[in-house]
């Protein structure tokens, strides 16, 4: 297709503002999907996406649009996730486009990821179409939302398109606006091939399917291709587009978005961010790639049944085929045995991965409390990366510990400014800029330790602002901090999986709260179980789970042995979800108890 009739764009927004629903309408109006095949959020095709009602993975589709001017246009749209954990998916998608549809919910207005994603799009030099969605809602205030959008983009409210992705109103106009306002691709069709791998997924039959944006030249099935970063030469065995079902076209030309299959099964051979060129006619410069997504939080994953370690490894390997952001290395815990230290993009990502491992791979797992990545500066001047509290060198060997700080942006109605400031202060936040988006809504900037964010910060923020505040963050620098490791002892034995690094001022309260929480979570056993919190050899808190004294139905049940047996078996199943730590049975949720304690 002639580049003048191609438009490539991403749909970006804060979580739940209606990106996937808008994608539905665009697919529907252009006839890409037959009416009988239509369902809500069609592009959210993973089970977990449908269950949770959120987009987790970006999804690219080609649609054909017959414009009012009589021309047929090729639109390549990418629906992106809104959750902050997956913002790297947004940046990747933007690199494959010339434009972005920036959506704002008319009842919510601009929120933190609206702003964060708008900045990403501006930085990538994209043309942005601002859209106010959900104008059908009774609580909608499209004028206010439009003002806020115009304000952050520096344009006029006249440019803001008003739609309801649900009812379909405004969609016809939007399609025309996409064709009118978005720039056409400007690659050189005659230059040597350069195509950006912006995403990939794994198909059991086809192997790795790379999603690519052709910038220059063209790609035809059978071509011998080269991946410029890895230096790998491969055959392009199949080339086509997704509509969203795969359609083999045999060829992709400059400006187009589509897929490439090489028969390769190893995702490390075709990395996201690499540039595809012709082996025989290689481009001289690769396209700008991506920074690898960075793991933000780390957690130990251990099979409840030690025999499942190899199955866990296989499951992680398989998951990574569709989730290149997943990082893991084998780890051994004295308490939990063999497992993996896994790096995640955030807590939602962690939650999702764990759920998939348990559901899709039928594994029973113990997860340890998430930790951020610390840097330990040692006396000999060397630096050690600490992803797991148990790896922290002893205080005697340390000069200092540094922890990651985040640039945090919070958008809140102005009446909650005080509440937000107070909260951030208790989380060691440092106030930065403050901008008014409108008289009623304000954008607050902070620097804050990531460790404070990953615990219950977001939930607390939401509850202190009646759900109105939104949060976005991105990595800033590492800073030295006064941190100590709090260890937990069960039955006088330190359980490495419970160790946590916390700020010194909070260690005592943390220890007390943790010991208390564990006393609630650990069921009574056949003997007393003392639970202690310690810093080094100093005990800072102690409680005891008293021995269980009654565990029997001292009741006649009229010879109904079957029922009794079944009851005992059910209870036994429940116990299977416990982990033996030494001689103590510990429920799985105890290992993430730290997440659930009120640290104040």
């Amino acid at each position: 297709m002639d580049q003048s009739r191609i438009r490539n764009f991403s749909i970006i927004a804060h979580i739940d503002h209606g990106k996937s629903t808008l994608a539905d309408r665009l697919l529907e109006r252009t006839g890409a999907i037959a009416e009988r095949d239509m369902r809500d959020q069609l592009l959210d095709d993973m089970d977990l996406e449908r269950e949770r009602g959120i987009t987790i993975k970006a999804n690219a589709v080609r649609i054909d649009y017959d414009a009012k001017n009589g021309e047929r246009y090729e639109l390549n749209l990418i629906d992106t996730p809104g959750h902050v954990d997956f913002s790297y998916e947004v940046s990747r998608s933007l690199e494959a486009c010339e434009g972005a549809l920036l959506i704002v919910d008319a009842a919510q207005g601009v929120e933190a990821q609206t702003l964060a994603n708008a900045h990403l799009a501006i930085e990538s030099g994209l043309e942005i179409i601002p859209i106010v969605n959900k104008i059908d809602l009774p609580a909608a205030d499209p004028d206010r939302a439009a003002r806020e959008l115009a304000n952050i983009l520096g344009g006029s409210t006249d440019e803001v398109v008003r739609i309801s992705a649900k009812s379909g109103s405004g969609i016809d106009d939007l399609l025309e606006i996409i064709v009118d306002r978005l720039p056409t691709p400007i690659g050189d069709p005659d230059a040597p091939l350069r195509a950006l791998v912006f995403d990939s997924y794994y198909d059991t039959y086809r192997g790795v399917v790379a999603l690519i944006r052709v910038v220059d030249g063209s790609l035809t099935e059978g071509d011998r291709i080269r991946l410029m970063a890895s230096g790998q030469d491969l055959d392009a065995s199949e080339v086509g587009v997704r509509r969203p079902a795969i359609e083999r076209t045999g060829r992709l030309v400059a400006g187009e978005v589509g897929y490439l299959i090489t028969g390769v099964k190893d995702i490390d051979l075709i990395r996201v961010g690499d540039t595809v060129t012709q082996a025989g006619n290689a481009a001289s410069e690769p396209l700008e790639g991506y920074a690898e997504p960075k793991s933000m939080v780390f957690s130990g994953l251990f099979p409840t049944d030690g025999d499942d370690f190899e199955r866990l490894r296989e499951a992680l390997d398989k998951l990574r085929l569709n989730d290149s952001s997943l990082r893991y290395t084998a780890e051994t815990s004295r308490a939990l045995g063999f497992g993996f230290r896994v790096g995640f993009l955030g807590l939602l990502h962690m939650d999702i991965v764990r759920e998939r491992l348990e559901r899709e791979y039928d594994l029973d797992l113990v997860a340890t409390a998430p930790s951020v990545e610390y840097r330990a500066i040692l006396l000999d001047g060397s630096e050690q990366i600490v992803q797991s509290p148990q790896d922290l060198p002893s205080p005697g060997a340390l000069v200092t510990i540094e922890e990651p700080y985040m640039k945090v942006m919070i958008i809140t109605p102005s009446e909650y400014i005080g509440a937000v400031m107070e909260l951030v202060q208790t989380k060691r936040g440092e106030m930065g800029e403050m901008n008014y988006l409108s008289p009623e809504r304000v954008e607050l900037h902070y620097l804050m330790p990531l460790a404070e964010i990953v615990f219950d910060f977001f939930d607390t923020l939401k509850s202190r602002t009646r759900g109105y505040a939104s949060l976005d963050y991105e990595p800033d620098e590492y800073r030295p901090a006064d941190l100590v490791r709090v260890d937990i002892l069960l039955n006088a034995v330190s359980v490495d999986a419970f160790s946590t690094i916390v700020h010194k001022d909070r260690a005592y309260n943390y220890g007390k709260a943790m010991v208390h929480k564990l006393r609630e979570l650990i069921p009574r056993q056949q003997f007393d179980v003392p639970i202690q919190a310690a810093i080094g050899s100093r005990i800072i808190a102690r409680e005891t789970v008293k021995a269980k004294r009654k565990d029997v139905t001292a009741k006649c049940y009229g010879g109904d042995i079957t029922r009794k047996r079944k009851l005992l078996e059910r209870q036994k199943e429940g116990k299977k979800r416990m982990k033996m730590v030494g001689s103590v049975e510990v429920p799985q949720e105890a290992f993430i108890a730290a997440l659930k304690i009120d640290q104040d």
């Binding site: 056949q526 003997f527 008293k546 269980k548 004294r549 009654k550 565990d551 029997v552 139905t553 001292a554 009741k555 006649c556 009229g558 010879g559 109904d560 042995i561 079957t562 009794k564 047996r565 005992l568 078996e569 209870q571 036994k572 116990k575 001689s583």
Partner: protein, 399 residues
Amino acid sequence: MRAPVSPDPANGLAPDSAVLADLATEWKSAYVHVPFCRRRCPYCDFAIVDESAGGALDHGQYVEALLSEIAMESRFGPLDAVNFGGGTPSRLAPRYLVAVIEALGERFGMKDGAEMSLEVNPEDWSDEYGAALVAAGFTRISIGAQSFDSIVLEALGRLHDVGLIEAAISGARSVGIRSVGIDLIFGHPGETDESWERTIDRAMDVGVDHISTYSLTVEPGTELSRQVHSGAPAPDDDVQADRYQRFEEVSRDGGFVRYEISNHAKPGHVCRYNLATWAHGEYVAFGIGAHDHRWGLRGRNHRRPDRYLEAIAAGKRPRVGIENLTAPEQERDQLMVGLRLTAGAPLTPTAQRFVSSAAGERLIRAGILEVVEERVRVLKPMLTDTVAREALSVSLNDC
């Protein structure tokens, strides 16, 4: 009409003796469920017909159905024990009880000196009723006393008072029932340590031969469960453990021997039906919600009276399910139920695998389980389910 009880060697054995428990595995019993209750007690989830709720089932019609069901049972017996449980068996007029006993005798035969027992609620007792029971051949009654504290009786929602209990006990003695027992319920949140102490003392003094002690449990679907969910205090495990222990101490001094978690007898007064159930003996069972166990099959009847009667009317066994147990599964059941006996369960290959498993060894080290003279015994009866759960996870087959 039955001959007076002839001396039985089993009567000379201690209630908790292993020899007696072994004998009991061979006993054959029959259970008859009498579902009628004046009204449902707030903690009770048994299969009963609440006669205060209207739409009551006719006693005669139910007994007819029982007789038909007995006629449908295969060859079994002769019987060592017959037990009428409930519900409230003492709601049935003596002629109905006699009709059932005769049907059982005809169908299965009775051993000499067979035990014939039923549960009696104090408010149903009269000396005439008692005399009729003796005439019908009953050798044992168990009186639903529950407590000797009127406040607790009230809290339990019972219809009788302490006076009625005492009248029933002395009446039963005077009409010559061989073994007289009472049931007690402990651990209601409305019960205090002192109140329980008084109940125990009274139980020791009233001259009974057998005492069953049941801890109050909150069963789903009961009135009690609704109350607890809406904030009423729930029974406390530690309190119940204390009360249990206290009863153990006092009743031992009072000459009672605990032969099962909840059952205590004076020598010669073990409840055979009871012992046989936990010793993995076989029993046939009739009536709504009844469960039987013979030839490796565990069957259960409909709990709903209409379903039960429908099936009987159609000439069918009123079954909701039958479990067919393999030999190893039976051995595992024998271990699971046998752990409730003071004498413990025999050291079968399954039991052997259990005690030598990691879990078994842990329990032995913790002083909860022991192996003596080819038997596996739980030393802390209040932790029996902890042990049984582990026993259930032992593999069924040798590897």
